[in-house]
């Protein structure tokens, strides 16, 4: 995965509410990943963000594997 460019259809729950918010990112995967649970639920780290929400201060974001759409198909 390292070096692959991808878009992330991201987002998460909005703190203190019942609701969620969508966010979109594009960047490069570092190759780092984390697994949660027994399924497993795999997450990849994306940095060198070329697209992120306006005002987003983060330089990297963890993306659920199924949220990724790769530029190289």
């Amino acid at each position: 995965m390292r070096g692959r460019r991808a878009e992330c259809d991201g987002g998460k729950g909005i703190e203190g509410t019942h609701f969620a918010g969508r966010q979109e990112f594009a960047g490069t995967l570092t190759g780092h990943f984390r697994d949660f649970g027994d399924y497993p639920w795999r997450w990849y780290l994306m940095t060198d963000l070329t697209h992120k929400p306006a005002g987003c201060a983060h330089d990297g974001v963890w993306c659920a594997s199924e949220s990724l759409v790769f530029e190289d198909g």
Binding site: C8, D9, G10, G11, K12, G13, I14, E15, G16, T17, H18, F19, A20, G21, R22, Q23, F25, F36, G37, D38, Y39, P40, W41, R42, W43, P53, A54, G55, C56, A57, H58, G60, V61, W62, C63, A64, S65, E66, S67, V69
Partner: protein, 365 residues
């Protein structure tokens, strides 16, 4: 049972009408289920114990009929910080602006500090703990309100649980269908809360096309509040509708009365798609908070979660002291048609009758 309202979704769930009520209120859920529809209870904010109790409560009242639980699976997560660190990140200009709003509209302080720690979508481990309850309780349907549920399909299917995914883009639908998700909810821009940026009339047929030949039912979401909307959704190829705002002012809804009144008064253009509540764009009813933040001289909206930390006192204060003039609630553009505080059973019946009227009109033309 046959007829224009009998769709593959009805067969898949064993229900009479292809109408799904998405609600955070158990009473609404039970009323809709017992009236022949289907209900999905939103539990994103609740701890596992609370979710388990809600599931049992519903089960005790629906005589074995199916229902669903919705959770918000996160799809992206930035680096995490403590609430204290987050609060320290709010610029003084923004704190001053919030205080100016508070004074101008006499916004009361909330009775207790808003609890900003209880949510299920931010932390993967917390989300999984919530999912485990749904699995342990063998809830018939698990719906993911945001992130793809593909990673848990195998386990869910082994347990006999259907998995539904709510999408805001056709490509999300294609991926989830390919992964084996049982039902896709195509949510359009008209919807309350988080939406993609594609209108309901545009996203629904695209997702229907993506599902063609796969046997995966598609449910239309976003702005559905009348029988005409239901008929239109079926005409677009959907197998049912997902409804939310429709139930907010129902008799059974546990929203406080002033807020229900506010919703009954709201028109379509009283909803605003803005990020000034939370830093995420979401559709809610317009309130003085929006009016101030949408002014050209307002500070720039902070990104999540800081903006939510800034708005939390305003929102909680308005609810604690029942200040209808200050309140805001997530509501879709279909709110125009929510004009009476009716029992949920009547709302469902009106939806069905309205749709059948449309089909009768076409049949007799």
């Amino acid at each position: 049972m046959s007829g224009p309202l009998h769709t593959p979704l009805c067969d898949k769930l064993g229900i009479e009408y292809p109408i799904v009520a998405f609600t955070h209120c158990k009473d609404v859920a039970v009323a809709v289920i017992n009236a022949g529809g289907f209900a999905v209870l939103g539990e994103a904010m609740h701890a596992p114990d609370h979710i388990a109790a809600d599931i049992k409560w519903i089960r005790d009242r629906v005589a074995g009929k199916p229902f669903g639980i919705d959770l918000v699976l996160p799809s992206s997560v930035p680096e995490e910080r403590t609430v204290e660190q987050l609060l320290a990140g709010i610029p003084q200009e923004h704190r001053d602006f919030e205080q100016k709003i508070k004074q101008k509209y006499d916004v009361p302080d909330p009775k207790e500090a808003p609890n900003l720690h209880i949510w299920g979508g931010l932390d993967q481990k917390r989300a999984l703990a919530q999912v485990e309850v749904v699995f342990d309780e063998r809830v018939p349907v698990f719906a993911s309100g945001l992130g793809s549920p593909a990673f848990l399909l195998k386990r869910a299917h082994q347990l006999g649980i259907q998995v539904w995914g709510l999408v805001g883009k056709p490509r999300q639908a294609r991926k989830q269908i390919a992964a084996g998700t049982d039902v896709i909810i195509a949510q359009g821009y008209d919807a309350a809360g988080h939406t993609g940026n594609i209108g309901t009339f545009s996203i629904v047929p695209q997702v229907v096309d993506a599902a063609r030949g796969t046997g995966v039912p598609v449910i239309a979401a976003g702005g559905v509040t009348t029988g005409r909307h239901l008929a239109a959704a079926l005409a677009l190829g959907a197998d049912g509708v997902w409804t939310g705002s429709l139930w907010l002012a129902s008799r059974e809804s546990d929203l406080n009365l002033p807020l229900k009144e506010r919703l009954l008064e709201a028109e379509t253009d009283d909803t605003v798609y803005s990020d000034c509540i939370s830093g995420y764009t979401m559709r809610t009813t317009r309130a003085p908070w929006h009016d101030e933040w949408l002014r050209p001289d307002a500070p720039e909206v902070l990104k999540p979660p800081l903006q939510m930390l800034l708005s939390a006192n305003y929102i909680q204060g308005s609810l604690d002291y029942q200040r209808k003039d200050l309140m805001t609630e997530a509501a879709g553009q279909g709110i125009h048609y929510v004009t009476e505080m009716k029992p949920a059973r009547q709302i469902l019946s009106d939806l069905v009758d309205g749709a059948l009227d449309v089909f009768d009109r076409f049949a007799s033309a």
